[in-house]
Amino acid sequence: MSAAPVELPRWADIALVPLVSVIAALLVAGLVVVGIGENPLEATALLLRGALGSAEGIGFTLYYATNFIFTGLAVAVAFHAGLFNIGGEGQATVAGIAMAIVCLALPMLPGFLAVPFAILGAAAGGALWAFIPGWLQARRGSHVVITTIMLNFVAATLIVYLLREVIGKPGSMQPETPDFPAGAILTPMHQLLAPLGLKLPASPLNSAFFLALMALVAVWLLIWRTRLGYAIRTVGANPRAAAYAGISPAAVTMVAMAISGALAGGLAVNEALGVQHRLVLDFTAGYGFVGIAVALMGRGHPAGVGLAALLFGVLYQGGAELSFDKPAITRDMVVVIGGVLVLFAGALDGLFRRLVASVLGMGRAS
């Protein structure tokens, strides 16, 4: 028995603490809304109605959540190996480039082959871009936090060059590729579900959502049910014990980073293959960074990542609707709410752990 960090039952750790954090964050965000002279309850109602009140809203919410699942999982997998991958933006960018090259170079492939190839291309591109910092840390001792963020800038510059000079649409003033071949795109959800008799309004939600759900399950399997996942967790929790067990921390570092980057590539799949049907500049739009918050909030567990991704999806979609209805509440406000959420769920987590522990402790004593 030592004065160790507060130990909580598993259910409280996974569900209760994040819930308390979210409520606290919403209270603080509410104060900010009061500060600019709006009614926070009304704003919350508008936000929720915008995100979940209509089939279209739900479609948008799930579309955003798809992005966050991929980038959140990317951060979570690296986390389990003790690595802080904050290069999701750059990895998704390179994934997009690789995918665009596959789509544009193989116009003759039928759809059922083109899509898997494009997805594999994205995964390979993201994996490559994350493998580089993994290799640098494993073999040269350069910290991944530094190298991943630096490679974000390299990727951002690379895509500008490529879209302008190499794979850009001829004659276009926009930095974008030509449209992908009609076979090499993902089916929008409203078309996908139409044969089932479901009439959904058009939204950017597409079959990449199912890919994201599969990724959630696959990551859970990988981390908790495979020998590789065991090795990843060992290296993350105790690198010396890993070396003692004959697991090479260097090899695991590189592999975990590559998997992490491949998952970040899912962002490119949803955005380029699923929505835009071409590669445009800045398609990553900060989703890669939000993935860090999603992974922190979800405590690195796929179930948590899924829920946190949904929450951020609600915030993004509801926030957009809110700023439309209430011009005083701009989209920046939504960024503030997101920021407060990250602060409470990630950084100030310990604050509420103690509180929750003492409340639970009291409940038991009485």
């Binding site: 028995m1 399997l221 049910r225 065991y230 967790r233 060992t234 105790n238 014990a241």
Partner: protein, 509 residues
């Protein structure tokens, strides 16, 4: 001196969830005495002291300091009440000097200069009073462990501690350093300070304490004057049954050589030679013990033989075959029948954040028995752990429990079970009983002797000379990375080995 006891604990209870760490514990410590508290790991000693030092608040009970009831809700309260604590793991800033560490938390204002000056004067006086020679400007990280512990004691005294609690203070000390510590404790007592000594080493209790209290499973089971008790009686009170303090071992003919090291040398990251031309032969069915003060190359020898670090020179033969570079890898060596119980189970032997079942396959995660293909089967891992924990009496026998929640002895049993059950040919054992309670020590020693009887070649490294002498068939002494001598265990005596450990070789003598 007042007649009221320095500390009185009355009816202290503390629960952690379903676990009662302390149950109605009462304790009275006379002022100006050295009071020992013994008990197995997990008996509740540390919890009790944490309550006294304000880390936890008791669910029930009262603390009285010098007769007056006090609430101690933080370490600041404890310090104000005149209680000082020396933790097992030091709370020092290694990059700061001695005097800077001493004023830490008691700087006395926004500017350091005044506080440091005052502390320097006070330190000089304290050093004189207790014969604690220490350079106030030395950098703490460069001091030996024994001296770092003195800094901790000075820190407590500087803040006006009248009552000093020491938690397993000798766990990190050489025998000579431990003797110095005890001399210091006696000096403190002579000055009227009260000392509480928490330990599991009965010899220390007998050597230095006036009275001793025994804890078992969260309860106080005995309070006795040290002069009126004996180690076997204390051990029995701790464990709740009679224990064997001696190792029973029949003589045995040793077999063929299994592991040979020839001319092994090794350098650390800074280029310092940590092993110098070590030659060693290990036969089947014998225990070879390495005697040496910590940090004299024993750890490196174990790590080189286990494939964790590569030697700069020399060869290792396993079963007559010279090990190629590719074979000197922990996973490969396990396949070849060389298993390793590492010196520090927390640092390398276990992943404390994992479940016990997961730790029971550490190093064997590729064994096809634990899953199919790339997948691991939780059911099979759990079944394996359940079986192993039953055979090795791991308590609680709960494979799903987080490893950090097991006591030291049971954690060690998890490691032991994992490395022994596969029938090693060679077993490297580092500090098998460090931080392990008496009941478990007995168990571990018996297992090691049984393995030797079954023909396993065992290399034992331990800082407890008694343990080395009790278990080994042959004893090799090391000093400064060199082997300084070898003795047959029956013919070895502590004085003679002590000289070898200090570097006085046979040739020089």
């Amino acid at each position: 001196m007042s007649s009221a006891p320095a500390i009185e604990l009355v009816g202290i209870s503390k629960r952690f969830g379903p676990v009662a760490a302390n149950r109605d514990v009462s304790l009275s410590v006379a002022a100006g005495s050295i009071h020992g508290i013994v008990g197995e790991n997990g008996a509740g000693k540390s919890t009790l002291m944490s309550i006294l030092y304000g880390f936890y608040e008791a669910d029930a009970g009262e603390i009285r300091i010098a007769g007056a009831p006090r609430r101690i809700r933080s370490s600041a309260d404890a310090i104000a009440a005149g209680i000082g604590m020396v933790h097992q793991h030091f709370m020092l800033v290694e990059t700061l000097s001695v005097v800077e560490n001493v004023v830490l938390g008691a700087e006395g204002g926004a500017f350091l200069k005044g506080g440091i000056g005052k502390a320097r004067g006070a330190l000089a006086k304290l050093s004189q009073d207790y014969g604690l020679a220490i350079d106030p400007d030395a950098i703490v990280g460069e001091l030996s462990v024994g001296l770092q512990q003195r800094v901790e004691i000075l820190k407590a005294l500087y803040r006006g501690a009248e009552i000093l609690i020491l938690d397993e203070p000798t766990a990190v000390l050489t025998p000579a350093e431990a003797d110095q510590l005890f001399a210091l404790l006696r000096a403190l007592k002579a000055q009227g300070k009260t000392v509480i000594l928490i330990t599991h080493k009965l010899r220390e209790i007998m050597d230095v304490t006036d009275r001793v209290s025994v804890m078992r499973r969260g309860e106080m089971v005995a309070h006795v004057a040290t002069a009126e008790t004996s180690p076997p009686a204390l051990a029995e009170a701790m464990v709740g049954r009679r224990v064997l303090l001696r190792v029973e071992k029949e003589p045995r003919e040793r077999g063929a050589p299994v592991l040979e090291a020839v001319g092994l040398s090794c350098r650390d990251g800074r280029g310092t030679e940590t092993l110098k031309d070590v030659n060693l032969t290990l036969h089947a069915g014998e225990i070879v013990g390495i005697a040496g003060v910590a940090g004299n190359g024993q750890s490196e020898l174990l790590e080189v033989l286990a494939g964790l670090i590569q030697p700069s020179r020399g060869v290792v033969r396993l079963g007559g075959q010279i090990l190629a570079a590719a074979d000197r890898h922990p996973a490969r060596l396990r396949d070849l029948g060389l298993m390793h119980i590492p010196e520090d189970r927390h640092r390398s032997g276990l992943v404390t954040a994992f479940s016990a079942a997961e730790n029971a396959i550490l190093g064997y995660q590729h064994d096809p028995a634990f899953g199919s293909g790339p997948l691991l089967s939780p059911a099979r891992i759990e079944a394996h752990a359940r079986e192993a924990f039953a055979a090795y009496d791991v308590r609680p026998p709960d494979p799903a429990l987080k490893t950090a929640k097991f006591s030291g002895g049971n954690q060690q049993k998890i490691v032991l079970a994992r490395e022994i059950e596969r029938g090693p040919k060679v077993l490297l054992v580092g500090q098998p009983t460090r931080g392990v309670d008496i009941g478990a020590i007995e168990f571990i020693h018996r297992r090691l002797v049984a393995l030797r009887d079954a023909g396993v070649a065992i290399l034992l490294v331990s800082v407890e000379l008694e343990e080395v002498m009790a278990l080994s068939d042959r004893i090799i002494a090391m000093c400064g990375g060199r082997i300084t001598g070898e003795r047959v265990a029956e013919a070895a005596d502590e004085r003679d080995l002590g000289l070898l450990m200090a570097g006085v070789t046979d040739e020089a003598a």
